[in-house]
């Protein structure tokens, strides 16, 4: 059998510590740990999850809608004691803030819309008690609007706003599909496969339904505004997933039970599902919002109930790259600087040997106390 030198013309070098000036793809033998080491290439188009700040109230079977920098989390469940929540929280890309509660507590609600125009419909507010109640969010508060025709919980759904929503499936294994026009719900063509706790995303005219139970399914169906048609299955069948996406050509599913809590993430490109990077915290009954390019997953059960948030940046996004940040209040050069990406200080500088000092918090610069003596670096 050919050895490494025969193939590559060089031997694998041995080191007791990491070699200097490592290059991408370099292989060396780590004599200290007695293993081969490999320098991962810098790829700028990979999708990845990172941790975000947690919900204020950990819960699962909650709902989420919006984009990754402006999301809404509402409803949900925690135990013990069994508590159905009406809590609503708003994510600004950095942290969650509690805003006005739903009028009717519930879990397993259908979602639709954005952080300023959302719809919460159906769900369950007591053991075995599915409800048809729907509430509309105007960016400030929830108000009751037209009820679902079919009371149900744990279905799939999505839509553009509080006047545009699709709600399909639900417990126990319903196939019912309804559309909301801002006033009332209209029954449309059923799913081919009835199920609950499925993933769903899109709009009233272009949506996707995937996974669910029982038994646990991988089935995916595409909605064209008129009817559902079966398309390629998920690679990993699961239930209680987190889901988000734009339409029937772009979606992301993550987490769930298959059985056991998983962090598996798959992306839909209009034809098939592809597995990408897993959530760090595998969990079921997790909520999600955003697009296949940028989104967030939050809450869930692992089995401990969690408020953990993870942020997704998809293929094409730069992972090891510069991104723009907030500009300083006073433009200058030759200033003194110190700190980290989220806690930096800039002081002094040209022109005119400034005394100004500014503090960066990871988002924006704020003027703080001046130096006693103006100067430049």
């Amino acid at each position: 059998m050919a050895d490494y030198k025969t193939i590559h013309g060089i031997k694998v070098k041995s080191y007791t510590t990491d070699p200097d000036n490592i290059i991408e793809g370099q292989v060396w033998y780590d004599k200290t740990n007695k293993v081969l080491q490999f320098e991962t290439p810098n790829v700028t188009t990979a999708g990845a999850w990172r941790t975000g700040n947690a919900l204020n109230t950990a819960r699962y079977i909650l709902s989420g809608t919006g984009i990754y920098t402006a999301s809404l989390a509402f409803a949900g469940f925690s135990t013990p004691p069994d508590t159905w929540h009406g809590l609503t929280e708003n994510y600004d890309g950095t942290s969650w803030t509690e805003v006005a509660d739903l009028n009717t507590v519930r879990y397993g609600a259908f979602r639709s819309g954005t952080s300023t125009s959302a719809l919460c419909s159906g769900g369950q507010n007591a053991p075995g008690s599915a409800i048809a109640n729907a509430e509309s969010w105007n960016g400030t508060s929830w108000s009751e609007t037209g009820d679902l025709n079919s009371a149900r919980s744990k279905g799939g759904g999505d839509g553009a706003s509080n006047t545009n929503a699709l709600a399909f499936g639900g417990a126990s294994t319903l196939a019912v599909n309804e559309s909301f026009n801002g006033t009332s719900w209209t029954e449309l063509a059923d799913l081919n496969t009835g199920r609950r706790a499925l993933g769903g995303s899109g709009t009233t005219t272009s949506a996707l339904a995937y996974g669910g139970a029982f038994p646990i399914k991988a089935v995916t169906e595409s909605w064209n505004g008129t009817s559902w048609s079966e398309v390629s299955d998920l690679n990993d069948a699961r239930v209680e997933v987190g889901s988000f996406g734009s339409d029937n050509t772009s979606a992301l599913v993550t987490g769930g039970e298959s059985p056991g809590y998983v962090g598996v993430t798959e992306i839909w490109n209009g034809t098939s599902w592809t597995e990408v990077a897993d959530l760090a915290t595998g969990r079921a009954a997790v909520a999600g919002s955003g697009t296949a390019s940028n989104g967030i997953a939050f809450g869930g059960s692992a089995p401990a109930i969690t408020g953990a948030t993870e942020e997704w940046t998809g293929a094409g996004a730069a992972v090891f790259a510069w991104s723009t940040g907030g500009a300083m209040n006073t433009a200058r050069s030759f200033m003194a600087n110190a700190g980290t990406q989220t806690a930096a200080l800039g002081a002094g500088g040209n022109p005119d040997n400034q005394v100004l000092t500014e503090l960066y918090d990871g988002t924006s610069w704020t003027e703080v106390g001046d130096m006693n003596t103006g100067r430049r670096a």
Binding site: V35, Q37, A48, A54, D82, T281, G282, P303
Partner: protein, 105 residues
């Protein structure tokens, strides 16, 4: 044979606990009890453990923490009953009963 994974206990503080760069370079997996699994013999994993001040655990120590947490969750699930509720309705209300988790070497 050398281990594939190493374990530590660390509390997820949210933003910055795992960055995109770290997430891309290494595979993270969390378990009950704030137990985190990362690749063994990996400098990026070692740097991350240092960054989050993770308490390094052997696989057996980590397994004991996870098993204690899972058993507590199972007991809580067993004890959470509603009169007249079927087993399917219970699963619908609470999710499936937590299952054992076995950590990999």
């Amino acid at each position: 044979m050398a281990n594939t994974y190493q374990y530590c206990v660390a509390t997820n503080w949210g933003k910055g606990f795992i960055d995109y760069d770290e997430s891309y370079r290494i595979t993270f997996k969390s378990f009950p009890g704030n137990v985190w699994q990362v690749p063994a013999y990996n400098k990026h994993a070692n740097l991350w453990i240092a960054k989050v001040a993770g308490a390094v655990k052997t696989k057996d120590e980590a397994q004991a923490i996870v098993t204690t947490e899972v058993n507590a969750a199972k007991t809580a699930w067993d004890n959470n009953n509603v009169e007249g509720e079927s087993s399917d309705e219970k699963i619908e209300r609470l999710g499936a009963k937590p299952t054992d988790i076995t950590l990999e070497a």
